[in-house]
Symmetry: C2
Subunit: 68 residues, 2 copies
């Protein structure tokens, strides 16, 4: 399975490259508006993120959001 | 390996849910500005996309962009 883990960092924090784990095993990411994303894990858990994507490394299973 | 294929659809086209293949086996996606993304495949090929993400289905290895 090729899901990714989502990590988040607070807005304006430049030196936190790792972030905090927000949701594991994410399959789907859908934009719901300006800097609003609905993310769904392979287990069906859904969460909303208010932020924007800072980086995606799919082979490492890592997506990093910067919160707004 | 958990890379994704990137597909693109022209701006304003609502009924094209599949899109056209833009780049295969993408590992990294990095924002470079407002609706500008640098994407890199596992083979090192890089391309720039002027557009925004419309959907991501990681388990299906599919990321869809709407071009600007």
């Amino acid at each position: 399975m090729c899901e990714s883990n989502i990590y988040v960092i607070p807005s304006g924090v430049e030196d936190d490259e790792d972030g905090e784990l927000f949701l594991e095993a994410v399959d789907k990411l859908m934009p719901e508006g300006e800097d609003v994303w609905r993310v769904t894990s392979i287990f069906g858990e859904q969460k909303i993120i208010n932020g924007r994507i800072k980086s995606m490394h799919l082979v490492d299973h890592k997506i990093l959001f910067e919160l707004r």
